[in-house]
Amino acid sequence: MNTLSRRELMKRFGAAGLSMGLFGASKEAWSKTAPHIVIVGGGIGGVSAAKYLRILDKNVKITIIEPNLEYVFCPGSNEVLNDFVSIEDLTVNYENIKSRYAVNIVTDLATDIDYAGKRVKTKANGFISYDKLIVAPGPDYKFGDIEGYSKQLAEGDFPHAWKAGPQTMKLREQIHNMPKGGVVAISSPPMPYRCPPAPYERASFVAEWLSHHNPTAKVLILDSKNSFTFRKHYIDYWTKKRGFGTKEAMIEWVPAEKGGRVTQLDAANKTLVTADGERIQADVINIIPAHTAAKFTHDTGLSQGNEWVPIDPMDYRSMVDDDVYVVGDATESSPMVKTGYLASNHSKAVAQSIVNSFAGKPPVQPLYTNNCVALAGEDYGMTITDTFRVQNGKIVKQYGHQSTELDNDALHHIRASLAMNWQRAFRRDIFE
């Protein structure tokens, strides 16, 4: 284990620091003694934490440090690829959080934590002092796992589009402009990664668009796994709608055991190389890279040398410092999967714990549910209901259920309607 001791941390930052005078701008007249809660990251986890904290406590100062002016929701973003929704439908800004919940928004990048001085270092605004820090940075991508792939290529002609935004639009454009009969290759990553059914949902929506506009084109899923979430549902849908398993199949799925694991990208020749050495050329290449916790958590020692940030599941407190919490996809939360739904629920536990700690009370016993949806088409939805409890400092999966019915078209259609309702309600629960 690679734990950063407090002494080491002290050494890294030293005792001296900039004084901070950032909050002259705040309109709210917080008392001088009001505790300051700083949140790194303005995604689902970070904004949920801010909102639910404010609901619990009107008298604390809350600041979100987030480099982007807008946030684009990932849930629903696969539907941008076939124009079922527009990216604008999924885009929000921070005005509402700022005005309605009196949260300071600092548009900046957090780069380090001075644990001893209880300050976050930012790229442009110097240090920001906190009483409690919530880190909600999401995942980063291990581009190096696929030789020849890089962040630069992802931002160029090989978008992973695994964080909704410009890359989603780029991928959409590539698919829409693909030559007749072309191939879209999707490389699906090993677990754990954000939103397990999403690569297959993506393949489904891409195929839906192609079936209308480029019916001889194909979607090839090259998988680093041997199975996937909702596999029965997706295979059922693809078999009924996309000729899956036949010569005319519009979607093909290659599991790792059949040579599906991609190890290399030959960008110049638009070719993927698999673990078996097979070379597969495609017109559109969408590599979803393996994940790791955000760089910020590695740089600050929060991950303690692990792939994911260890936390105390009682209240998502970090193992490094009692005043620092980490939520969402960046955390080691197995057997939970990485979803926005869970990230928002981590944040509710954190908000409650912080308010309790100000009152000198211990954290409350938590509950974490993951009641999520996925789609195969506008007429086919799926649902998952997971419940997690905490016993003896461990996360226990009390129940996990995935919808199983295959031969009930009406039910699939209801679930699709529910899924879309869920997406909307979920977005509103975080940002409205």
């Binding site: 284990m1 709210e28 007249a29 639910y52 404010r54 609901i55 009107k58 008298n59 919940y101 009196a102 677990m191 754990p192 397990p196 199975s227 996937f228 596999r231 994911w308 260890p310 105390d312 193992m319 080691e332 197995s334 057997p335 739904y341 629920n345 509710k348 536990a349 409650q352 409350v364 016993q365 938590p366 509950l367 549910t369 009641n371 649902t383 209901t385 409890r389 016993q391 400092g393 461990k394 996360i395 226990v396 999966k397 009390q398 129940y399 996990g400 259920h401 039910l411 209801i414 679930r415 309607s417 529910l418 309702n421 869920w422 909307r424 309600a425 979920f426 509103r428 629960d429 409205e432």
Partner: protein
């Protein structure tokens, strides 16, 4: 020391977690958790917000608002879901994890929420 132990425990559970992503697991009956410290109604109820709205207060979606539901009505609904009296699409699987006491605490929580849309709420009312 305590924390080191926790980390090693978590690492073990991580190994199991890798394999569980694709499985529907068996239900551990709620009563097995009856001796655990109580989960407050708010903690239980706030898990519902993604579908039913913040504090159960979305009134313009298909999933019904929960704020202001009379205690006994909520309990009856949840018990019916839990015991599969009404076939349902999602809620059976949501409800069956809770103890009777937890359902009662959730009922108290939602009965105490203001019965009006969240979007009308002045969140900062009372801010200093």
């Amino acid at each position: 020391m305590k924390k080191t132990l926790l980390v090693s425990l978590i690492s073990v559970s991580a190994l199991f977690g890798m394999n569980s992503a694709n499985a529907s697991g068996a239900l551990i009956p709620a009563d097995k958790f009856a001796q655990d410290p109580q989960i407050p109604g708010k903690m239980l109820g706030d898990n519902c917000s993604a579908c039913h709205g913040t504090l159960g207060r979305f009134y313009d979606e298909s999933m019904p608002p929960l704020a202001g539901i009379p205690r006994d009505v909520f309990i009856k609904l949840m018990q019916d879901f839990k015991n599969e009296v009404r076939p349902s699409i999602v809620m059976n699987h949501v409800a069956k994890v809770f103890t009777d006491k937890e359902i009662e605490r959730m009922a108290d929580y939602f009965a105490a929420q203001a019965d009006r849309p969240w979007k009308e709420e002045n969140v900062l009312e009372g801010a200093q």
